[in-house]
Structure formats: structure tokens, C-alpha cells
């Protein structure tokens, strides 16, 4: 559904979206990487389990919550990608380590 703009820089780094190695421009956000390479919804809500995806892309709506490098409930639109970053969907309520 989403494509890179034609004038995007040609440089690429590798991140893992739901376990799949993909390449994205440096400076991308984790949410943008999800939109480019994910498959539809990027999280399910904690109460009703509804599918959701990034919306405002500017840190306001919290629809882009992702698990990033194992850390749950991160706002994906505020996290810049780094080489080797593991980006996963946030499914429902986060777990806690007791």
C-alpha cells in the first residue's frame, strides 16, 4: 500500500519487521518501517483486541504502539530505526516480568 517517495535517499539499513529482514532508509521511524513492510494492522487494542495501525505519525494518537527490541508499547512513530532493530506488532496488553 505504501511506497517510498521517488526522491528518497538511496542509502539503506536493515531492520526486522515481525522477524523478516527488510531494508529501509536511515532516518525512517519504526512506524514507517511497519507501514512500508508490514501487512495491514500493526497492533491489537488491549481491551477489545481490535486491529489498529499508525495514524497521526506525530506522537499524539498512540495508535502506532509497537514492540521494539523487546520493549513493549513503544510509540513507533517517535523511534528512529537503527541497524538490526527488531520491530514487532504489539498484540493486546503487554506482559510483565514478575
Amino acid at each position: 500500500m505504501f511506497k517510498l517517495l521517488p526522491d528518497s535517499p538511496s542509502e539503506r539499513i536493515t531492520v526486522h519487521v515481525d522477524g523478516q529482514a527488510v531494508s529501509v532508509p536511515p532516518g525512517f521511524t519504526a512506524a514507517a518501517a511497519m507501514l512500508l513492510h508490514g501487512t495491514g494492522s500493526t497492533r491489537t487494542t488491549p481491551v477489545t483486541g481490535e486491529p489498529r495501525a499508525p495514524y497521526c505519525m506525530m506522537g499524539v494518537c498512540f495508535e502506532c504502539l509497537l514492540q521494539i527490541d523487546g520493549e513493549p508499547n513503544q510509540q513507533g512513530c517517535l523511534v528512529t530505526v537503527a541497524e538490526g532493530m527488531r520491530i514487532e506488532r504489539q498484540l493486546g496488553k503487554r506482559k510483565v516480568d514478575e
Binding site: 488491549p46 481491551v47 508499547n73 493486546g92 496488553k93 503487554r94 506482559k95 510483565v96 516480568d97 514478575e98
Partner: protein, 371 residues
């Protein structure tokens, strides 16, 4: 002028519970709600339906609280059936966590005393060791020394409860008037005319359920209601998988997964903001009790004002100057919601408060201070 069976002032948990209770009796109440300029304790409270530790030295308060807690399950079920809105009420019992031997000893003495004061009402409690508590709440940390437990405690979502009460009030034919700040009260025995929000309302009964507003309103109908604000601050976390199977005095996990943390009391006048010192103290104690919280995100904090009488008890009274005017005020609008709806509303319509509420009369404030 609109005529009703009762006018209730205050659209929060207390006023709405009483108004709903009156409507449920087949009477026609009107609920006057000031608006968002009001202090809105019902929007900021914690949501415990709490029994243990209430009523030390005042067995009447212990019994009244217990009675409400015992009614809550049925009350919540009825609201669900009438409105389709769940209050999130659960009654799994509750604990007060102690972080030192000293705290636990103090707690043990308090619970023993409450047990004695309960008399034939009976008050079952347990003092749990760390190991015993760990079986009930596996997430406790090594700094937890023990806890007190009673099966009477529970919790509910205050906002859903209020929404359900409002919906149930309307369903039973009650009238809700928003933006209705009371401008004047013309009082005569069993006849009250109120101007509010540019309209007039008349009824033979009047209930003051306006929280901190009751002080000024009380003076207009011969009731002395010396309530003052006591601030509480609350921390709210992101939503987590279920990890707290029962509430503690300072912490509860909502059905949606949020953990709420709060136990502070401050004299701050009408300032309902938060302060870093208190939030820090709350967070530290919470992490000591449940170390997993160390890595949990805080999404919000807020402050809210409790409605507190000088002795911390509710105030229930009928005006002797203007019979038919009642005051109903407390700092436990959630815990006592069931009693206010089921019992207090009935007393108001009967026109007399029973002996069991005599301890909560305003007469207790008439004793002169020793020189």
C-alpha cells in the same frame, strides 16, 4: 416552574446515586449539576469499594460501609441490567501491604480493634505473612513484610459507575439538568424552590449531594456542613496483562489492564494539581511492593480533592429548621454508592433518617472546643 418529588443538587457519584435511588422508588427527582467548573471529585477518585480500616473507633461507620459493600454486587448487576453499562465491579477481597514489622504490628492492632468494635456484625480478617501473601499476589517483592486481608474489599470503575447511574436515573423517569449552578434557594418546611441555570424547580424534598459545595449550600437551609478539600494524587500506568488479582489499599488493576496507584493525603486547599514529591513517594512505595512496576510506563498522573469532614466521617442530616432538606456527603462516593442509592434515597422520601445514621449527624460538630 417545574414540580418534582425531590431536588438533588450535585451530579457526581453521591448526588446521582441518591437521585437514581429516588427515581427507582417511582418518584420524580430532578438532578441539578453545576458543570465542569465544579471540583468533580467523582472524576478523579480511585475506585476502591473498601471496608477494611474504615471506622476505627466508630463502629457505626464500619457497619454502614460494610452494608454498602455487601450491597454493591447486586447494585452493580442491577445497573448492568437496566443500562447495559458494566461498572467493572469485582469483590475479590483486598489487602493492605506492610513494608516493615512496625507497619505490620500497627496494622495488626488496628484490625484487632476493628474486630472487637464490629461486635455481632462480625469482622473477619487475616494478617498474612510474606509467604502467605505471595500465594495470593505472586508479584510482591522481597521488601513486603506482610499484609492485612479482608474478603469484604473490592473495586469498581468510578466513571462507568457514574455513567450507569446517570443512564439508570433517566431510564426511571428522573430529570438531569446540566449547567445548573444553584443561584438561590427559597426554603420552607417541606417546600423548596430553587433557581438554577436560569430555571426554577420546586419540590418537597431537597438533597445536598454537591461535595465541597455542600458547605455553602448547607448554610442556605440551616445545615452546618464543615467539609474541606483533602487532595489525593494518582498515578496511572499503561495497560498490562492481569497481574494483580485483588486490590491493595494503594493499588488496583482495572478490568482494562491499567494499574492505578494512589494513597496520598494532603491539605492543599483547592489546588488539585500534582506535585513531583508526592508522585515520587507513591512510585517508590509501589515499586517496593511490586518490583515489576519498575519497567512499566506511567501514562498519566492527576490530583483530585476529597470531600472531608473534620472527623473524616460522612455527614447525613435532615435540617431541623427546614425539614425535608437533607445533606449527604462523604469522601467515599464509590464505596457508599450502593447505600446511597438503596437506603439513603428511601430515608429521604420517608422524611426521616434512621437511628443507625445518628452518629453522622451534624450535631457532632456542635461540641464546643475546650478553652
Amino acid at each position: 416552574m417545574a414540580d418534582f418529588d425531590a431536588i438533588v443538587i450535585g451530579g457526581g457519584l453521591v448526588g446521582t446515586a441518591v437521585a437514581y435511588g429516588i427515581a427507582r422508588l417511582g418518584k420524580r427527582p430532578v438532578l441539578l449539576d453545576e458543570g465542569d467548573i465544579a471540583h468533580r471529585a467523582s472524576r478523579g477518585n480511585f475506585g476502591l469499594v473498601w471496608v477494611q480500616s474504615k471506622g476505627f473507633g466508630v463502629p457505626e461507620y464500619q457497619r454502614w460501609t460494610r452494608r454498602s459493600s455487601d450491597t454493591w454486587t447486586e447494585f452493580s448487576q442491577e445497573l448492568l441490567e437496566e443500562t447495559g453499562i458494566g461498572t467493572g465491579h469485582e469483590r475479590p477481597g483486598g489487602v493492605t501491604i506492610c513494608l516493615s514489622e512496625e507497619e505490620l504490628d500497627k496494622r495488626r492492632r488496628l484490625m484487632e480493634q476493628l474486630h472487637i468494635e464490629a461486635g455481632e456484625t462480625n469482622f473477619d480478617y487475616e494478617i498474612l505473612t510474606h509467604a502467605e501473601l505471595k500465594k495470593m499476589l505472586p508479584a510482591i517483592g522481597p521488601d513486603v513484610v506482610g499484609a492485612s486481608y479482608t474478603r469484604y474489599d473490592g473495586h469498581a470503575n468510578p466513571l462507568y459507575t457514574m455513567r450507569a447511574l446517570h443512564a439508570a436515573l433517566l431510564k426511571h423517569g428522573g430529570t438531569y439538568v446540566p449547567n445548573a449552578r444553584v443561584e438561590s434557594i427559597q426554603a420552607a418546611p417541606n417546600h423548596f424552590v430553587i433557581n438554577a441555570g436560569g430555571r426554577s424547580f420546586a419540590a418537597p424534598r431537597l438533597v445536598l449531594g454537591a461535595g465541597l459545595g455542600n458547605k455553602a449550600l448547607g448554610e442556605m437551609v440551616g445545615l452546618n456542613v464543615p467539609v474541606r478539600p483533602v487532595r489525593g494524587q494518582i498515578i496511572v500506568t499503561e495497560r498490562l496483562q492481569p497481574v494483580l488479582p485483588m486490590p491493595t489499599l494503594m493499588m488496583r488493576q482495572t478490568v482494562e489492564g491499567t494499574i492505578m496507584i494512589g494513597e496520598s493525603r494532603e491539605e492543599s486547599g483547592f489546588d488539585d494539581t500534582t506535585s513531583p514529591e508526592i508522585i515520587h513517594t507513591l512510585a517508590q512505595r509501589a515499586v517496593k511492593s511490586f518490583p515489576f512496576l519498575r519497567n512499566v510506563r506511567i501514562v498519566r498522573t492527576w490530583g483530585a480533592l476529597r470531600v472531608m469532614a473534620p472527623d473524616g466521617l460522612p455527614i447525613y442530616e435532615q435540617s431541623s429548621e427546614f425539614p425535608g432538606a437533607f445533606v449527604c456527603t462523604c469522601h467515599s462516593g464509590v464505596t457508599l454508592a450502593a447505600s446511597h442509592a438503596r437506603y439513603y434515597a428511601q430515608y429521604v422520601m420517608d422524611g426521616a433518617l434512621p437511628a443507625e445514621l445518628a452518629r453522622f449527624s451534624t450535631k457532632r460538630f456542635d461540641v464546643q472546643a475546650a478553652a
